[in-house]
């Protein structure tokens, strides 16, 4: 099954419809319904009232014509009429919504951002507006704003609407990659593979996230696209559950691109949750190709720790910590490997350093369990075990 995940005109149309349906009715009050009913104006106050009625009448007329133009898919006229109507009644939520959606559909992203911003000022919890503004910001290159809006929209349930989910998730994955949050990006891309959604740039996106390239698929150089496509395809196949085929594809890639940076790292990262042993082989492969890859080195050390190979972990952990003393992964790996190979005091120091920043680090608490247990500190060991059990719930 192929699902379009790109901001094509067709996709925007889908989004347009689904977001209209998705916007909570209660959030977009129909301003026309709130207008006072007309009666004869005579006195001064009545004249003012008459003026209000005239405005109301104009607004009603504009709103009706805007809706008609929208129904007829006449975007330029509908945008113009909604704009005029909003000038008469700036707190008309429904108008801002349609103005934003229509401008988004017409590729008028700056105007759409403004419209959604006005709506969000009136209804801060309008999740579809948040999501659409994020997509518009993506188009204008305001990537930080876009990521913030899309993450907030997702946190408020924007992915629960099946029609909107692919486009929001795809943009979010790209933005997370661009922001260097590769693991989170891969988690978003994984969903596409699990649902067998397919598209060329999707696989390039997977490759970029997997190989830690903080870039967008559209910016991939022509000379690199074939490689990214193949690497992304291997990752995609892995995510889709066919690990044997993926293993073969990665094997072909290693043969064809033996010195490609982060290719072994990518496969190791995919294997890491399933089998530390296999992941270790890949991280070692990465370091053989690219000895200066500090992330691979730190992850190798941590994976060796998780595999219980503490003596082996010590050397890469020391190197990782020497190069990046603030890296949590390096602190964890060195702390645990030192503690397990004899230096419990220094090990505990490093693990507590991790906990000072991240009190819910299971790995750090596991390390402390071992230290307290092996040193005969029953009370502290039991306390740390309880923390681990709570974290593992």
């Amino acid at each position: 099954m192929a699902i379009s995940v790109f901001p094509s005109a067709a996709a925007r149309g889908l989004l347009f419809l689904s977001l209209i349906l998705a916007l909570p009715v209660a959030q977009v009050r129909c301003a026309a319904r709130d207008m006072p009913s007309a009666h004869n104006p005579m006195s001064a106050p009545e004249k003012a009232q008459d003026k209000t009625q005239e405005t109301s009448s104009q607004f009603d007329d504009l709103a009706a014509r805007a809706a008609a133009a929208r129904d007829q898919q006449n975007l330029p006229v509908a945008i113009q009429l909604y704009t005029q109507a909003e000038q008469l009644k700036p707190d008309w939520q429904e108008g801002w919504w349609y103005l934003g959606v229509l401008q988004y559909s017409a590729n008028q992203f700056t105007g759409a951002i403004d419209a959604f911003t006005r709506l969000l000022q009136l209804v801060p919890t309008a999740v579809p507006a948040m999501a659409l503004r994020g997509l518009c910001e993506f188009e204008t290159g305001a990537y930080d704003d876009s990521l913030r809006d899309l993450e907030q929209a997702v946190a408020h349930g924007a992915l629960n609407e099946p029609h909107n989910e692919p486009i929001i998730r795809y943009h979010l994955a790209q933005l997370l990659t661009h922001a260097g949050r590769f693991q989170e990006a891969l988690e978003q891309y994984r969903v596409f593979a699990e649902h067998k959604a397919d598209a060329p740039d999707l696989k390039i996106g997977i490759a970029l996230a997997g190989m830690r390239v903080a870039s967008f698929p559209k910016d991939a150089a022509d000379k690199d696209r074939e490689f990214y496509l193949a690497a992304g395809n291997a990752g995609y196949v892995f995510f889709s559950g066919d690990n044997e085929q993926a293993d073969g594809l990665f094997g072909q890639l290693f043969a064809r691109y033996p010195s490609a940076p982060n290719l072994h790292y990518f496969y190791g990262f995919l294997l890491f949750p399933h089998d530390p042993g296999l992941a270790i082989d890949q991280f070692r492969g990465e370091l053989a190709v690219n000895p200066g890859n500090e992330t691979a080195n730190a992850l190798l050390a941590l994976t060796l720790v998780i595999a219980g190979r503490f003596t082996e972990a010590l050397e890469p952990a020391q190197r990782a910590y020497a190069n990046a003393p603030d890296m949590e992964m390096a602190q964890l790996a060195l702390g645990r490997s030192l503690a397990e190979t004899g230096d419990m005091r220094r090990g505990a120091e490093l693990l507590n350093q991790v906990l000072a920043r991240d009190p819910n680090s299971l790995e750090a608490h596991l390390g402390l369990v071992s230290i307290f247990s092996r040193s005969g500190n029953r009370e502290d060991a039991e306390r740390e075990r309880k923390v681990c059990r709570d974290l593992a719930k």
Partner: protein, 331 residues
């Protein structure tokens, strides 16, 4: 270390010098964690087993030391040879088809005296004969299966199940044993495998837990419920009396991996009483409580048997504790 003169022309094995351990280990459970084709008593004595599960019928037959596993939907039948037998009592088979490895969807259970669905596979609804035959194993699971039930899986090398030695040989736990043996044959006794005797209780737990699963592994995977009662190091470390620097609570305090498991409950009393015996010292008694109910058969109360869901077997819960009647399975 025992050193014995070599008999002329006799091949050097671990038993050449370590005869006692090698001899007793021949019957130890880990030695038989996987059985080679034709060597399994259960299949030898149950030569024709069958079971119907939904739309599929299964049949495991043994003839002249060769076992086959067949599944039929009533129209077509898929028959595969059984090369790898996992488990000494209850047993599951790893099957190969078209270069892929599968965990058999049915297993043999002594208590059921026959075939039943493999634990953990109850939720699988097969759509064809291959799916009915077994669950295709991911590459890492195949590796884990063979690495814990056999010997010769080499880190960094592609797994070749045909080259794996069934059961755990000396080298599997005593890394370096092969080199030591080769050197010893040349009268060089300097290359010794790393001693496991110096491991403390926590380290022993982690060592055994490589296959029996560590406390860390269970926490990391967020495993909950009685299905994980079979992971003894994890359960043991939950015990209030477990502490990593006390050899009296190490796995090895009760179990000699070179010998068969002792099923006599009384055998373990001395292990418990090593800590929980009446003491003349008031402070020692206060630290380690004594049982007000009995002084024997400790494990029958404090290490209850737990039914493994879908496993047609009970496991001894190694979470040592005061058990209260009717209480739920404790995590």
């Amino acid at each position: 270390m025992a050193q014995h003169p070599k008999a002329a022309n006799a091949p050097v094995t671990c038993a050449t010098c370590h005869n006692g351990a090698a001899t007793s280990y021949a019957t130890a459970p880990m030695r038989h964690a996987m059985e080679p084709q034709g060597a399994n008593p259960a299949l030898a004595t149950h030569t024709d087993m069958s079971v119907q599960l939904g739309a599929y019928s299964y049949r495991v037959q043994t003839k002249d030391g060769q076992s086959t596993y067949a599944v039929s939907d009533g129209t077509d039948t898929l028959t595969l040879p059984i090369h790898w037998i996992f488990g000494q009592h209850a047993q599951t088979w790893v099957l190969e088809k078209d270069g892929h490895y599968y965990e058999s969807l049915v297993s043999y259970f002594p208590r059921a005296n026959g075939l039943a669905i493999t634990p953990g596979d109850q939720k699988i609804t097969p759509h064809n004969l291959t799916e009915a035959m077994g669950r295709q194993l991911p590459i890492w699971e195949t590796r884990t299966c063979f690495n814990c039930h056999g010997s010769g899986v080499v880190a960094g090398e592609k797994l070749t199940p045909a080259k794996v030695t069934p059961g755990l040989d000396c080298e599997r736990c005593h890394a370096g044993a092969q080199q030591h043996m080769a050197d010893a044959a040349q009268d060089n006794f300097k290359t010794l495998p790393k001693s496991l005797k110096r491991l403390d209780a926590e380290q022993v737990s982690d060592f055994c837990g490589q296959c029996h699963r560590t406390w860390d592994t269970v926490m990391r995977n967020k495993w909950h419920g009685p299905a994980f009662v079979r992971f003894q190091p994890y359960r043991l470390e939950n015990s209030k009396c477990f502490i990593g620097n006390d050899p009296r609570i190490s796995c090895l305090a009760c179990h000699n991996p070179h010998q068969p498991v002792n099923h006599d409950v009384a055998f373990y009393d001395a292990k418990c009483l090593a800590c929980h015996a009446e003491s003349k010292s008031a402070s020692a008694s206060a630290a380690m409580k004594t049982c007000p109910v009995a002084k024997s058969n400790c494990t029958s109360c404090h290490m209850p048997k737990v039914e493994l869901p879908g496993g047609h077997a009970q496991f001894t819960d190694h979470y040592i504790r005061v058990v209260h009647a009717g209480e739920p399975y404790p995590e």
